[in-house]
């Protein structure tokens, strides 16, 4: 098969899938799914519930602050507001990330942005699978509210 023929078939497949998505009925209630974002911290795959975050952006460089809070990288202006940015790897007890260009915006509670290096993609898994995810499966579900709550302890209040 020539590359030109392969490219044409691939375009045809994309078009068919795109059209098929509009022909299909909306998903029923019989199977509840949950959207997740997969990222990698220190060589381990982590998943974050899409419902627990306020957004995902990249390419924002935080302004460093003269503060000694563990994992605090600085402040970043996002959507017209100042967000404190923490290194997610440091918060999880890993070494600091080399190039934390991705920012997870945690909207619930306090506005906190978590920086990490490697974003692997979007996942849609059955809720039962997400709730029963065991460390043996290689995918760890990270609870953002719990993490943000840990940041709001008296010793670790964000600035």
């Amino acid at each position: 098969m020539s590359p030109r023929a392969s490219g044409a078939s691939q375009v045809e497949a994309l078009r068919r899938a795109f059209d098929q998505s509009f022909r299909a009925p909306p998903p029923g209630e019989e199977e509840e799914t949950e959207d997740l974002l997969q990222l990698r911290i220190g060589g381990q795959a982590l998943a974050v519930r899409l419902s627990e975050i306020a957004g995902l952006i990249q390419g924002r460089t935080p302004v460093p602050l003269p503060a000694a809070a563990p994992g605090l990288l600085g402040l970043a202006g996002i959507r017209g507001a100042l967000w404190p940015v923490f290194d997610l790897a440091v918060l999880l007890g890993e070494p600091p990330a080399q190039d934390p260009r991705w920012l997870l915006l945690c909207g619930a509670g306090a506005p906190v942005a978590l920086a990490f290096s490697l974003f692997e993609g979007h996942l849609r898994l059955a809720r039962s699978v997400v709730n029963g995810a065991a460390p043996a499966s290689g995918l760890r579900i990270l609870s953002i509210p719990h993490l943000v709550a840990s940041l709001q302890t008296p010793e670790g209040d964000p600035p």
Binding site: P3, D35, L37, L56
Partner: protein
């Protein structure tokens, strides 16, 4: 006697010594014999004649007296003449005696006899004169008896004394001759005895010397004969081995001859092949020239390919840049879709349809991102292939340059090959000629070796004869040694 003298010289000296002794004996004997003979001759020639002359004196005196008596008796003149004749004879005898005598005693006696005769003759002449005067015979007889007879007796006595003296002389000479003969005999005997002893001594010395030297020489000859036998045996063995070696040499030379002929034939073939090679090398040179021109064309084409490949690389880089933009857009779209999904989730039930759209946009962005990733991989492969092709092409260009240079070198090498092949052809012909000469020389060597083999066989035969001769020489030397030194030979 000197050892360096030859046997002939030694024998000559010995015989010369003996001969000298014999000569000495002969000289002594001859001298003694001559002395004796001279003494005897003197006795016979002189003394005996003097005795005879004395007798003749006596006779002449008697005849003179008889003639005088006859004249006195007969007065015959003839008797006087006879008396005169007898007197002259008497005087002649006296004169002869004077010439033969050398002793004073004898000469004095002769002088006395002459004086006696003169006195007698005077008396006789006086008596005769008396007779002539006519005296009587008786008176004459008396006168004669008285005057003449005493004179005559004196004369007789002196002549007798002279005769006795000469007789005594004879006896003395005889005794002297006998003594001289005795002396000569004793001398000859002594010298002969000395010569005999000397000859015996010389014979003993000569015998001992010759025996020692000849014995030593014979022993040397015997030793040399034994060594000669050993040497001949070794020579015979060596000759047999030499004959075997010569046989092997002959075989080898024959093989060498065959090989030389094969080499000559091979040289001919090599010369032919060299000529063909020269033609091929010349053709190859032309082909190399044409190939060098073709390589120049290939080089130009390859340079063009490199240029196009570099353009292709630039285009690939541009495609990569566009893909970067697409990837960035895809990623941004994906992020927007995720954020839209988040917002849709926050919108509750009314946001579900929007969530579907956002999900489809996200999937589309994922697929576009995957396709962009594939395209990037393909572009990377294309760029890698282009780089590889450029590198290979540059390598090909260098290879073409090197090939062009090498073809130039090949052309030069082919020219040199043509020249060298010419030299090789010449050398091959020389080899062929030399090999033929070598074959001829090898044939001559083969003939020479055959001659040497024949000579070796003859040498072996002569060695056998030499061995027999050495054996005979040993036997002869042993026999000679036995003859010379029996105790040594035993």
């Amino acid at each position: 006697m000197r050892r360096s003298w030859t046997f002939g010289r030694k024998l000559a000296v010995a015989f010369a010594a003996v001969l000298c002794l014999l000569l000495l004996v002969s000289v002594i004997g001859v001298r003694a014999l001559r002395t004796v003979v001279a003494s005897k001759d003197h006795v016979i020639d002189v003394t005996a004649k003097n005795v005879l002359r004395a007798e003749m004196l006596r006779g002449a005196a008697a005849r003179k007296a008889s003639a005088a008596r006859a004249y006195l008796l007969t007065q015959d003149e003839a008797a006087l003449k006879e008396m005169k004749t007898d007197r002259e004879r008497f005087e002649a005898l006296i004169a002869e005696l004077r010439t033969t005598l050398n002793r004073d005693e004898n000469l004095n006696l002769v002088d006395k006899i002459e004086q006696d005769d003169v006195a007698l003759q005077e008396q006789l002449d006086r008596v005769i004169a008396t007779r002539k005067a006519g005296a009587a015979l008786e008176l004459v007889n008396q006168e004669l008896d008285k005057q003449v007879l005493p004179k005559r007796e004196v004369l007789e006595r002196d002549v007798t004394a002279f005769a006795q003296l000469e007789q005594q002389n004879i006896e003395d000479r005889k005794g002297a001759a006998t003594a001289a003969a005795e002396t000569a005999r004793n001398t000859v005997l002594g010298v002969s005895l000395a010569a005999l002893l000397l000859a015996i001594g010389i014979a003993l010395v000569l015998t001992r010397t010759l025996s020692q030297q000849i014995g030593s020489a014979v022993q040397h000859i015997q030793s040399s004969s034994n060594e000669l036998q050993t040497a001949v045996n070794q020579q015979s063995t060596g000759t047999r081995e030499q004959a075997m070696a010569l046989s092997e040499i002959t075989t080898t030379i024959n093989e060498l001859l065959v090989t030389s002929r094969q080499i000559a034939e091979s040289a001919q073939r090599v010369a032919k092949i060299a000529e063909d090679t020269a033609g091929s090398a010349h053709a190859g040179e032309q082909v190399a020239s044409r190939t060098r021109e073709s390589i120049g064309g290939i080089k130009r084409q390859v340079d063009l390919i490199v240029t196009h490949m570099l353009d292709l690389g630039k285009k690939s880089q541009q495609i990569g840049g566009i893909l970067e933009i697409i990837s960035e857009l895809t990623e941004q779209t994906n992020i927007l879709a995720i954020n839209a999904a988040i917002e849709a989730a926050g919108a509750g039930e009314s946001g579900k349809r929007f969530a579907v759209v956002a999900e489809e946009i996200r999937k589309l962005a994922d697929r576009v991102g995957g396709s962009a990733k594939d395209i990037r991989a393909l572009v990377e492969e294309i760029r890698a292939a282009v780089n590889t092709t450029v590198m290979i092409t540059e390598g090909g260009t260098k290879a073409v340059d090197a090939g062009s240079r090498e073809f130039s070198e090949v052309a030069v090498a082919l020219q040199r090959i043509v020249a060298l092949v010419g030299t090789t052809t010449e050398a091959t012909r020389e080899i062929e000629l030399s090999t033929k000469q070598q074959s001829t020389a090898v044939e001559q060597v083969n003939i020479a070796v055959a001659n040497v083999a024949q000579a070796t066989r003859e040498t072996e035969a002569s060695s056998s004869q030499t061995f027999q001769t050495a054996s005979l020489l040993t036997d002869l030397s042993r026999e000679l040694l036995r003859l010379i030194q029996p105790q040594a030979a035993a």
